[in-house]
Subunit: 486 residues, 2 copies
């Protein structure tokens, strides 16, 4: 049993060393390979293809040159002090590599190698414990084993076996995923939806870095604004929940928790070595600690996108819909109500201002439908302006179906959206037929706090999660019946 | 009051003439324009840019040549018999145009012009009634007014103000939308998700073609396999529900009904001239008549995609998951259970066959995780083969995260999926980082009954709707408590 002091010291060293391993000056890849059939090839490619400006040292007993870099036979031969070691050699040789890391003063380890606790036999679990003991003694955080790796896109560091991740948009969303597959699923979906990513880590078997440690680190990380978690099962939910509670209100934490199905539990045990646990109880604990629980990968990606970009939700449930077409606005109205928000009637003064702008041949209440004036950009902007100035309106949803006849709209509205989206959350549902338009909309997103979604329902879902995140900042009221107790 | 015989005769003529207007040899555009600021320009562009092989006659009192076509001053000057007239002139001049259509024997009219019942004044409603009376007397179906138009992609006919629709993939999904905006929303989403579209119609104010007529027509249309409906409010829900009941089990009908929110009702009145009505009661009636009710545009598009492509659901709830990665498979397990399906344990004989193929270092039960063999295409195919042959498995969900290391997978699995997807529903969640892969996956879809979705939850949602569509074929059991009665 460690003393409290020892635990705190180890905790502090772990955090400090995590800082170094995510912003290393030097990276060694133990198990670099020139064979595209091996993951050691792809990790090296990731490290080199990205914009990482630090030094990369491939390690392999066979020496030679891979991708233009001299190969060293062991960590001890590397001339520089190595900050981060990525290990991708067979499980049975890992223990020696760990000892080399400790001997040469490595600050952090990413262990991609699998075949430990998740295999389900005693040898694997025992080996993992041995490694943890060694690393803990030396104060070295190990991410993994059984992880795809880590990324810090802010400095172009891609220490994963997936070079494609380097193409992600740089941003302030961090991802902690228990599963490598789901890290890819979420990461790829984020890339396809123009979400700005920062630090990504696959926790895998959580040798000595668990969710609580990762959350602790990211809460203190200046480059992280929003934290996404994918959780299957955790050995110590209390630790994660306590950590989340400690930082409540500082940064939004969005959680996708799997394992509600009976079969999921068994599958998870053989996946990353942990039962999924009592799903409902965990979810209740997460919510009480201020974490935002979502129900799908898509909802998670949509939520972190708005949480990263938009100003926080202020005020009530009232959302203004301004639409070029009535039908999609009606669909959005329904979705708002289903999600606890509403397109409420405008105040008399706001209604008067809108009536001055928009001729009566349209829906001028909330939702506003421009009707025959859908192609009139100035009119559109004037309406947005007066709604933006109204304090009763918590957020604005802009819906427009785009085609050749109004293709000027996206560029024309760009500057206005940049201003408007600073004042309050502004979400778009810009509907267009081909991927050719994606870039134009992404350009507005990149230059502003505006975010767009492909359907009214997804736009509203994101707004609802933004509003929920605001509510989650406050602890449950005193005397509230709690479903989970620490 | 019409006699029953007269109603039936009119009904028959209407159906026959709808057939002609969707497959016309000649189309006149009354209100063609050379001005890109006017819809009459864009409709002409739609008619010309598509692959429509019939003749197109622009009509405009100003004569001249537009887009290389001679302009006629009136319908009466057109040398050929006109099958379909598209009207896009101001409301006040429409009555004369209708009379010209009747006088020259036009078979069907698409009235894009707005400004009738939806405007909310008596004049508009009265004018619409006059037009309906004239058209009914002549047996001419009118789609609209206040519609974006109609399409029959099978013959390259794009009689809408949206040229972009011509780029849609040709297929057997038909869409009837009350709202033009939502027709675009659904149509564009279908295009972006590789759904094959056939006939599209925006009903608008439903002068004399309402949902029941359109459904009747599409149920008898050999090129239509799946029918999607977007309904805001209908004057005569009983007629639609009776029509759906009459054709129950013949073709799946998927409905998105809006108007659950209080504000939606008022908005809809000013949109297409009808209150949304009692949302819950309509929805209950739709379900009882065997229509599949969905909750979002995305769910609708996902549902019609699988309903069009895959063989019908047979057997129980048991779905096999075969995955290259465990995490996404666990997410899918949860989603199956939430949707009334399940990844149940394999039968002993199937489990034995899988154990012969897959080494024990993986999850070999349902879900199957290939673990370290994720890159082994032959092994993947062998597992799919034995699962495909098992009669206890109703459907197969294949999940794979793609990257450089297994980029061969998509092409390598293509031929096998073509066979497998004929035997039972096979759905993919092929996860990849960039739009570059979209085409490769779409190519498999185009050549088989396989369909892919971007997340496990959406893939499972589509499977659930396929299974539900099978159940909807049967009428409610005798003695069942019905929420809606005709």
């Amino acid at each position: 049993m460690e003393s409290e002091d020892a635990t705190r010291n180890w905790g502090n060293r772990k955090l400090k060393n995590m800082g170094t391993m995510f912003s290393p000056k030097t990276v060694a890849l133990i198990g670099a390979s020139h064979d595209p059939g091996k993951p050691g090839f792809h990790v090296l490619k990731s490290l080199i293809d990205g914009e990482f400006s630090g030094k990369v040292f491939p390690i392999n007993p066979k020496r030679g040159v891979i991708m233009g870099l001299e190969v060293h036979t062991s960590l001890k031969d590397v001339p520089d002090q190595v900050d981060l070691a990525v290990i991708i050699i067979p499980a049975l040789r890992v223990l020696d590599a760990i000892k080399d890391c400790i001997g040469t003063g490595v600050k952090g380890i990413v262990m991609i190698t699998g075949g430990f606790k998740e295999v389900g036999n005693e040898n694997g679990a025992h080996l993992q414990e041995q490694i943890a003991d060694l690393a803990n003694g030396a104060g070295i955080p190990i991410i993994g084993p059984n992880t795809p790796g880590i990324l810090n896109l802010g400095i172009g560091l891609n220490a994963s076996f997936t070079p494609a991740f380097s193409a992600a948009k740089k941003g302030n969303v961090a991802l902690i995923s228990q599963s490598g597959g789901v890290a890819h699923l979420i990461g790829y979906m984020a890339m396809r939806n123009n979400v700005g990513l920062g630090k990504i880590m696959g926790l895998g078997n959580r040798c000595n870095i668990d969710f609580a440690d990762a959350l602790d680190f990211l809460m203190q990380d200046a480059d992280t604004q929003v934290i996404a978690l994918y959780v299957e099962g955790i050995d110590n939910p209390r630790q994660l929940i306590e950590t989340a509670q400690r930082y409540r209100g500082e940064k939004p934490v969005v959680v996708l928790k799997s394992g509600s199905a009976a079969q999921s539990n068994e599958a998870s045990l053989s996946h990353t070595g942990t039962l999924t646990g009592s799903h409902e109880i965990y979810a209740a604990g997460f919510r009480q600690a201020g974490m935002l629980c979502v129900n799908s990968v898509e909802e998670l990606v949509d939520a972190v996108k708005i949480l990263d970009a938009a100003p926080p939700w202020e005020g009530g449930a009232n959302t203004a819909i301004v639409s070029g077409q009535a039908g999609p606005a009606i669909v959005a109205c329904d979705a708002l109500e289903r999600n606890g928000l509403a397109a409420m009637p405008f105040s008399k003064s706001l209604q008067n201002r809108i009536n001055d702008i928009l001729p009566p041949l349209t829906m001028r209440s909330n939702p506003v439908d421009l009707g025959p004036w859908w192609y009139d950009l100035e009119l559109f902007k004037n309406i947005l302006k007066v709604i933006g100035e109204d304090n009763d309106i918590a957020a604005i949803l802009i819906i427009i179906v785009l085609g050749e006849a109004n293709s000027f709209f996206v560029e024309g509205i760009s500057a206005m959206l940049s201003d408007l989206s600073k004042q309050k959350p502004v979400v778009g549902c810009f509907v267009f037929p081909s991927q050719g338009w994606d870039k134009a909309v992404a350009a507005i997103e990149d230059a502003s706090a505006f975010v767009s979604y492909p359907t009214p329902e997804r736009a509203v879902g994101a707004l609802a999660n933004l509003s929920l995140a605001k509510k989650m900042k406050d602890p449950p009221p005193e005397g509230a019946v709690l479903e989970y107790s620490l």
